[in-house]
């Protein structure tokens, strides 16, 4: 073992179900908590973001059309795949963040459990948030939550895996597709998570993951006219105002979240009300 030269992984982006390098050719250096070189992940460009949004837009209606049962099984499948690769994720978290193995194990466990929790929401959220409205007239009238479209997100720096999953899961439960920027300092588990997604029957383009700088990519996400919503929980509150100003150009729904609850799913869903007359 000791004399073997190990085979290191090239960390790339995850766009439309494939693992391209950034078109810009830019990378940045990621070091371990102890200062040792780990990898040169991609420094995603504005063009990479555009490509990811194109893929996300193309994938969204198909994902939205999948039955709630099917979506739930796919989310559960992601949890299954992650569970099977626990050791790898624990190693990566320990290496890149310097936390203890126990703490890293806890983060991976919570990540798996959070996916299972969200998997169960796909076929319950409409029941919870929908309504049959008793209008004063001979009309059948109901309100249901529907997918919003393409949602961008910035994952928090830490916890790098759990934070990423906590952002992705509620967005896709709602039938949306997502383009997410991973933790800048600890992007390894995000890119390994892309491999989990790639083997979980998630249709290509539904989840797209970029690595790079928040200060570059977040404003591009905020001003992109084909992004419908933006989860900015992973960004400092000081940045929220300017991003919301940029997002007003297409009245993007921009939110930050404090906890995992059904409100997080519903934030990126639109309520649709349908009327139809009742009569002979």
């Amino acid at each position: 073992m000791s004399n073997r030269i190990d085979v290191k992984k090239t960390y790339k982006l995850f766009i439309n179900g494939a693992f391209p390098r950034t078109e810009s050719g830019r990378t940045y250096e990621v070091k371990s908590a102890k200062g040792i070189f780990i990898a040169n992940p991609c420094l995603a460009s504005r063009k990479d973001l555009k490509d990811a949004v194109v893929a996300a837009r193309a994938a969204q209606s198909g994902w939205n059309k999948a039955t709630a049962y099917n979506k739930g099984q796919i989310l559960y499948r992601i949890a299954e795949m992650l569970e099977g690769r626990r050791a790898q994720f624990v190693d990566e978290i320990v290496t890149s963040t310097g936390v203890t193995k126990i703490k890293a194990e806890k983060e991976v466990t919570e990540s798996v459990d959070r996916l299972v929790w969200y998997a169960g929401w796909t076929d319950k959220i409409s029941t919870l948030a929908g309504a049959l409205n008793p209008v004063a007239g001979p009309y059948y009238n109901f309100t249901i939550p529907e997918s919003m479209g393409v949602i961008a997100a910035v994952a928090p720096e830490t916890p790098s895996l759990l934070g990423l999953i906590e952002a992705i899961a509620p967005i896709i439960v709602g039938g949306n597709s997502v383009v997410i920027l991973a933790s800048t300092k600890a992007p390894l588990s995000a890119m390994s998570f892309a491999e989990v997604i790639a083997t979980s029957d998630v249709p290509a383009g539904v989840i797209n993951i970029l690595t790079g700088k928040k200060d570059e990519i977040a404003p591009w996400m905020a001003s992109h006219m084909d992004i419908d919503g933006f989860d900015i929980s992973g960004l400092s509150a000081k940045k929220h105002g300017e991003l919301k100003i940029a997002g007003a150009q297409n009245l993007k729904r921009i939110y930050s979240f404090k906890s995992a609850d059904p409100g997080r799913i519903l934030a990126f869903m639109e309520n649709k009300t349908v009327w139809h007359p009742i009569g002979l």
Partner: protein, 483 residues
């Protein structure tokens, strides 16, 4: 078809004796009417008669209103039980019902809409909104926002001129039921029914400062939006102003709901009940002179029925009675303002210059006031301005399609997403279409229906949030996980 139908109706004017309009109004702050400093006239758009002088609120008046609202919130309204708050709302609903005719006449005089509509739609629905929300006041813990949902505090509310009293009710009723106090600004051209509503608040003995009404123009609105003493902004109006508000509040902690513009597609499939669909299209675009954010302003006709449908539509349109809004037989009243009339005329002119074919009903328009004959444009393409921009007038753009998917693609090809209509006798096609359409309100085999229990609001650039129902109530409560 071109012959003028001579179906004579004897005039049936509603009496205006039921209203007494003061020559000059102030603001309603802290439960009292206070004199304004500057004034501007409000006119009857059907006659150009000056009805009264309306006060223009500046910084000091807005400050005073916000201060009164804050005081009422901290000392009275937030301490009162939901049960008691609800009783005030029930009282308001009942008084509005009692004074319904007065409200309807005043609305028609100030706005120009037909008395038939103010009497049968605006005022009864406004009262119904108060009655509905009254019942929520003591049931907020069941609204799905946690066991202890909290109001925001002071809500700043800015409403448009197309449904002045109804939009007031959509804003004030849920705000008060949830426990907020309000500073409301009616639109510049239609302040009178809001000021009459202030009298209703007095008659209901609503605690001073719970509802404050300041009148004025966009400058007054901006003072409210930017006021640091306001916790929540609710706005109904244009998408352009909605974006300005979104930017203004972005760096603050103010919560915002926006109900903005639309360019709704009203889709008629070849299997629709044609006569019903014709009625629905007419209602969809000519209700309230087309001054409706959710108006069905784009008719999407299946190509195979185009000729038959347009012929029937023109026959029906020729029967629309345009004229004196106070006449109970009138279908289409006055355009609300000279400014709006110019905007409608200008956008319609682009329909001509961009190559669409205009047809207007052969009706006589009154010599005074602001009028626009019911108009349709055929041969409209998706690139035409009249297919993309909100005209907010009695102007319908007609496009055609061949397949259901093409209809959906065209319907969704807009930055707006407020409403849409579907006409088909086939249930599965109606449900399929309602799923595909990217809009907050879908009317299938009906159009322009509203109810306090029914959430209303838009996708995309048509706004943020809903009004009506449990979903609308949540806009006035904290308790959701995001900000």
């Amino acid at each position: 078809m071109e012959e003028k139908l001579s179906f004579e109706y004897a005039p049936a004017p509603e009496s205006r004796a039921v209203v007494s309009i003061k020559p000059k109004y102030g603001h309603f702050i802290g439960g009292k009417f206070v004199a304004g400093s500057k004034h501007f006239p409000t006119i009857n758009p059907a006659t150009e008669e000056v009805l009264s002088q309306i006060a223009l609120a500046g910084k000091s008046e807005v400050d005073a209103a916000v201060k009164a609202a804050r005081k009422a919130y901290t000392t009275t309204w937030s301490k009162m039980s939901g049960k008691e708050r609800g009783k005030y709302l029930f009282r308001i609903a009942r008084i509005m019902q009692e004074r319904a005719r007065e409200f309807a006449v005043l609305e028609t005089l100030d706005n120009g809409k037909p008395i038939r509509e103010s009497r049968d739609v605006d005022v009864p629905l406004a009262a119904a909104h108060f009655f509905y929300h009254a019942g929520w006041a003591d049931k907020l813990e069941y609204a799905g926002l946690g066991t202890t949902p909290k109001p925001h505090g002071v809500a700043g509310q800015i409403i448009p001129w197309n449904f002045p009293l109804l939009m007031l009710a959509w804003k004030v009723a849920p705000a008060l039921a949830a426990g907020n106090t309000v500073v409301l600004k009616p639109a510049e051209t239609t302040s009178l029914t809001a000021l009459l509503f202030a009298e209703v608040c007095q008659q209901a003995e609503l605690p001073a400062g719970v509802v404050n009404i300041v009148t004025g123009d966009g400058t007054t609105g901006a003072l409210i939006v930017n006021h640091p003493g306001i916790d929540k902004i609710a706005f109904t109006g244009s998408t352009e102003v909605g974006k300005i508000i979104a930017r203004a509040v972005a760096p603050t902690h103010k919560s915002v709901t926006l109900e903005l513009g639309g360019k709704a597609a009203n889709i008629v499939f070849d299997d629709a009940a044609i006569d019903e669909a014709v009625e629905g299209i007419v209602n969809g675009i000519f209700f309230n002179q087309g001054h409706v954010c959710c108006a069905g302003s784009r008719l999407l006709l299946q190509e195979s029925i185009e000729d038959e449908f347009l012929e029937k539509l023109k026959i029906r349109m020729a029967k629309i009675r345009v004229g004196d809004p106070m006449d109970k037989n009138t279908d289409l009243g006055a355009i609300n303002s000279k400014e709006q009339l110019l905007k409608i005329a200008e956008l319609s002119a682009t329909g001509d210059s961009e190559g669409a074919q205009r047809w207007s009903t052969p009706c006589d328009l009154p010599s005074k006031g602001f009028w626009f004959a019911p108009t349709i444009f055929t041969g409209v393409t998706q690139a035409h301005r009249i297919a993309r921009e909100e005209i907010f007038g009695p102007v319908l753009s007609v496009l055609t399609f061949r397949t259901p998917q093409e209809a959906i693609d065209k319907a969704n090809n807009t930055p707006f997403g407020l409403s849409a209509g579907i006409w088909s006798e086939k249930g599965s096609k109606v449900l399929w279409s309602s799923q595909q359409l990217r809009a907050g309100v879908i009317w299938a085999n009906t159009f322009n229906k509203f109810d306090p229990t029914s959430p209303f609001g838009g996708y995309k650039e048509s706004g943020w949030g809903r009004e009506g129902g449990r979903h609308g109530l949540s806009a006035y409560l904290k308790g959701v996980s995001h900000e």
